[in-house]
Symmetry: C2
Subunit: 467 residues, 2 copies
């Protein structure tokens, strides 16, 4: 059968089968991959339609995005969690992701919190620590509730040292714990003697050296440093090799000038220099700082946080303040270390998706082709990932540019409306923890934020819109 008219040119949206039929009948057809917005849900579609191009939402997003761009986080120094973090209680331990009670927590988070209890000396052994936690004798709060972020389990206990990042534009301060390195570490749920010994030294020795160093170095501007790292193959989430080197180059003269013994200085420098991930926690606090600047703009659909507690994936949007929109945390389909598989993996965990929320990590993958060997895929995928994220971003960050895309700014300011409209999910470059406490990292990969979080946010915003 021939189609009528010799010059028929067809654009087929959605189901590809229709295009195939036209092509086999001799028609010229271009297939466009498309799905109905809002999963085809009519009620949700109406909510989305109210928000899209709504002048109030557009203006709110412009304001929130401008505030995000205006932030210029500086690393002010280091302090002790309980002393620096406003409102942090004496018997409180912060954790990653949205709020969760002890009984529902995943293995690695429990392991990390037990380790933090032992680190504080509140219990003599792990069993005692677990009993304490189960009886509600320790208060657990999300890091995000206190202006902080922590990778993986994200445990921050009162005596731990924390990075202090300040945004002069808002005066607001953000915090993160210090990176312990790889292997058996608290953030992956390990809590044995070597972990506790390292934490004890970080609290005493490392904190002291860094505190003295900052007295002579003064604050360190983080956006230029991160921008430089993007030009050196980092996406400053799962790859921080360059950023760590750049931070070290800033800190080394200050550590040498600090009033600490040569042995202390040498140990601190060797520890930092031996851990390519050392900058990660600084990057996270900087991203938290940039996004907190965009918080609380009524009706704004910009995402201000994405975080996971190993059970739930949660997001916050600017117009809904501290509200979490959650969905089950996905299991990451990544590359596993020999001997492990997805069956061993804890669901996605950690506050580190704050980097993607700020346009870094998976959003800036075009900067880090070398990371594809770590999370799977090709160099072309790295470029494609960044380009795809552009479809759900409010704009580009001109302070954070990507050489491989001819110095385009990284896509930033995730718009929850666009996620629901396009079905394109924010990607997250992430490490994978073993589901049992104490085993540690077993792989890494790319995951995506669940659509349900964004659907809830869109519904909440639509409800808040004056009729």
């Amino acid at each position: 059968m021939r189609l009528p008219g010799s010059d028929l040119r067809v654009l087929n949206l959605g189901i590809a089968g229709f295009a195939d039929a036209i092509a086999s009948s001799g028609g010229r057809v271009t297939q466009v991959d498309w799905q109905p917005p809002a999963r085809g849900d009519a009620k949700l579609g109406r909510a989305l339609a109210r928000l899209v191009n709504h002048p109030e939402v557009e203006e709110a997003n412009r304001r929130a995005f401008a505030a995000y761009l205006a932030a210029s986080p500086v690393l002010e120094g280091i302090g002790t969690a309980r002393r620096e973090i406003p409102g942090m209680g004496r018997r409180t331990i912060l954790h990653a992701g949205p709020p969760i009670e002890w009984s529902r927590m995943c293995g690695p988070m429990r392991g990390a919190l037990v380790g933090a209890i032992l680190h504080e000396g509140w219990a003599g052994d792990a069993a005692e620590a677990e009993a304490l936690a189960a009886r509600g004798k320790v208060r657990f709060e999300p890091c995000h509730a206190r202006g902080a972020v922590g990778p993986m389990a994200g445990a921050i206990s009162p005596s731990m040292p924390v990075w202090i990042v300040r945004d002069p534009a808002t005066g607001r301060r953000s915090f993160s714990n210090l990176n312990e390195g790889l292997g058996k570490v608290l953030r992956f749920g390990a809590n044995g003697p070597e972990v506790l010994e390292r934490l004890a030294w970080m609290r005493e020795g490392l904190r002291r050296v860094l505190a003295k160093a900052f007295e002579s170095s003064g604050p360190i501007e983080l956006k230029p440093l991160m921008a430089q790292a993007l030009h050196m193959g980092d996406e400053v989430h799962n790859r921080n090799a360059a950023a760590t080197s750049l931070l070290l180059r800033r800190l080394t003269p200050a550590i040498l000038a600090a009033k600490v013994s040569r042995a202390e200085a040498a140990r601190a420098l060797a520890f930092i220099g031996g851990n390519d991930h050392f900058f990660l926690n600084v990057s996270m606090a900087a991203c938290k700082s940039m996004l907190d600047a965009a918080r609380g703009v009524p009706m704004s659909s910009l995402v201000t946080a994405m975080a996971r507690n190993g059970v739930e994936f949660g997001i916050q949007v600017s117009g809904c303040g501290e509200l979490w929109f959650t969905a089950p945390s996905p299991v990451v389909d990544g590359l596993f270390f020999p001997g492990y598989s997805a069956a061993d993996a804890a669901p996605d965990l950690g506050d580190s998706a704050i980097t993607e929320s700020a346009g870094l990590g998976g959003f800036a993958m075009a900067a880090a082709p070398a990371i594809v060997s770590f999370v799977g895929g090709s160099a072309a995928d790295a470029l494609a990932n960044t380009r795809r994220m552009g479809h759900i971003a409010q704009g580009r960050n001109p302070a954070l540019t990507l050489p491989a895309l001819d110095f385009a700014g990284t896509p930033a300011g995730i718009d929850a409306r666009k996620v629901v409209d396009t079905g394109i999910l924010p990607i997250v470059n992430t490490g994978i923890a073993h589901r049992a406490a104490g085993i540690g990292q077993i792989g890494a990969g790319i995951t995506a934020a669940p659509l349900d979080c964004f659907i809830q946010a869109v519904a909440a915003l639509a409800e808040a819109l004056p009729a």
Copy 2:
């Protein structure tokens, strides 16, 4: 007019005008950019034809390339030029590029040699130093003649500190001077008091700190470090930001452990940390080491050195030993600092094209999209440059991989035959010196090795071939 036969499909090589005519007559034509090999010179073409696919040449190139790949240069430490460089005379100063007498030298090279004479204390002022040089009272030799390399003017005088690089595969040692940083520096021909003061400190203070540091660090493997830098946006010629950081991370603990005062250690670390080009000279010595391993294979057409003295561009090929094939040094058409133009530029200068000879620099531009802002062009050009160099390379170096090309090895082992056959010229990323002594760097850009050098090499090899 219609062409006979409706299905005529034409492949047009060379002059595009023929293709245009076919296309305008309704024919299907594909244009291939092509020029006759050897510039269409019949005698040269015959010489080339004898060499191409000649089993002896092919086997020689395989051997030379295997030797290049087998080299694994290690940075053994630092020493004093006169003591370490075999055969270097007491009143000798080494310079970049092929041999050249004082009377023909360019401005920046004269400026640098005058500075080196003052540094050695052989003259009391610049006029006296020039007179000494003009009267032949100082012996000038190419760095390459003594197993050494130096960027830009490449001046190495007897008391200067030099890097010592050793290849365990051959036992051979290579040398380079130490990088002074940017601004007013000897290698761009400056020789004022600040230059001489810095050189004096480098000879005393910096050399001492580094020498003590290497006692505790031991040798540093350079190929893995350079490979890592390629994954961090360096091409280790004009961009060494990552490699410098990586070297610094290796040296810092050793400097802290060294028996030197804290002030000395701090000054050395601040000097290295403040100069993103510090690794360049180490990179050059490592490349020299890899290429020296490939030297002296009879009938091999592999390029073992490309170097410029600011008047002539010279190459050496494995089968012709220490012979230089030279042509006038090109003026680099690059990006100039404000207030300068090509009219102010000295012709291309320095031994640093040893990096391109070894498959780095311009050949590895795909690793360094961020450098395009420095030498002009787009990220796509960076990939295209590396791909184009693949056409004149003997193979790929699997130890030096390029993330943006999905971890393909960098193209390496320039085959002089392929350069003459294809007309594709080896590119060189380079800095541009002012033509007058003492002014310094005025720009940077990409230049190309002159075809004439390769034509001479091909002619010489063809003559050496048994009839």
